[in-house]
């Protein structure tokens, strides 16, 4: 479905992919940050804990995955710019 005034074909893709990248990536970053700051098991966690790296190995691994996906998406974005069109 398309008409000459509004390029709906491009529009819905921008909305959907824009949602995934523009809102999804910061959300993933937030998950990564939360995982990274998880405290080591056995230690009490509290809102006063201000260390970014909490030391939980599972959290650390999860955070690495999250941040890797975010970085990969940025790389993909730059690739799109360079490749043009």
């Amino acid at each position: 479905m398309n008409n000459s005034w509004v390029d709906l074909h491009a529009l819905w893709k921008i909305v959907v992919v824009g949602m995934i990248c523009g809102a999804g990536l910061p959300a993933l970053f937030a998950i990564g940050l939360r995982a990274l700051s998880l405290p080591r098991s056995g230690q009490p966690a509290g809102p006063t804990d201000d260390r970014i790296i909490g030391g939980n190995p599972v959290g650390l691994a999860a955070a690495t995955v999250c941040f890797a996906v975010v970085l990969a998406a940025i790389g993909w974005g730059i690739y799109i710019i360079v490749a043009g069109t």
Partner: protein, 383 residues
Amino acid sequence: MVLVIVVVTALAFDFTNGFHDTGNAMATSIATGALGPRVAVALSGVLNLVGAFLSLSVAATIASGLVDTNLVTLTVVFAGLAGGITWNLLTWFFGIPSSSSHALIGGVVGSTIAASGGHAIKWHGLFAKVIIPAGMSPIIAMVVAATGTWLVYRLSRGVSEQVRSHGFRIGQIGSASMVSLAHGTNDAQKTMGIITLALIANGTIGAGAQAPFWVILSCALAISLGTYMGGWRVIRTLGKGLVEIESPQGMAAESSSAAVILLSSHFGYSLSTTHVATGSILGTGIGKKGAEVRWSVAGRMATAWLVTLPAAGIVGAGAYGLAHGIGGTGGVLVVLAILIGVAVAIYLRSRSTAVSHDNVNAEWTGGVAPPPATPVEPAAAAA
């Protein structure tokens, strides 16, 4: 002679485009303290430079598709640029983030109408490629940013305040850099297109030719230098005026801007980076519970957006009328002199209410310029 004036004027426009739009990428990072004001504009300037070189395939002429290029003369291009520059300077003075692309398009369309009448304008192209996307892009950006902000706050609930703001400041630097890069690829291209159009109109290069390397280089330098100068007035409005921003909101806003700008140019949907950035920042205000959105500031901006095309068009048409009325190189020179006079006048006027890297983050008190009585805190501003 006229060609040289047109090229220099185009570069001047590119420069105003740069400093007008620094805020699109960097306003939120400066407001949250993720980057120092001067570091932010330097980073943005460099990335604009890189961006301008990254993608050359888009070398799209802004005018083709909007006006009948056969009817475009050097004087028309010059008058259009005069309209664009005047509007950019005026909106900068009032701290309104209006679209530089619209200023340019409005100027060129206005001068083309003055020169050859309304039939020289491809109205369908103007609506389908400029006006309708302008209405939709800020809304898309706003929805994406609001969703992103909501998700980010929801997902980082268990994280302490300090960790959160520190972590997201790092994220902000990355996302703001992407916006700067995207801006360089988009907006520098527009001036390259205008200069190429002038060269074609002059017969220097053949129709359909690519932009010569010196055009690419000079445009890239002009836009990055402009970005480095930093349009502090606009940065202030975007970073402090619309919404009080925390670093998670800043990152959500910039991610949304970067995604929407890059995707749109990827799918050939032209839009204004300014409209997207403003929409995103508004969205982060909507997405965070309890955040204050200053709708009056937003309303003032929306009004400016609506009048950008016609206002720049009227200036462009007037500039063409004057240049054509006097005729020849003399006419262009007279308009050039007036343009320089207007630019200097606006600049001098702005000195009395200066906004700089020192006071860009001062408390928002309802106006662009912080009241002079407010003591500037160098520590807070430099942080």
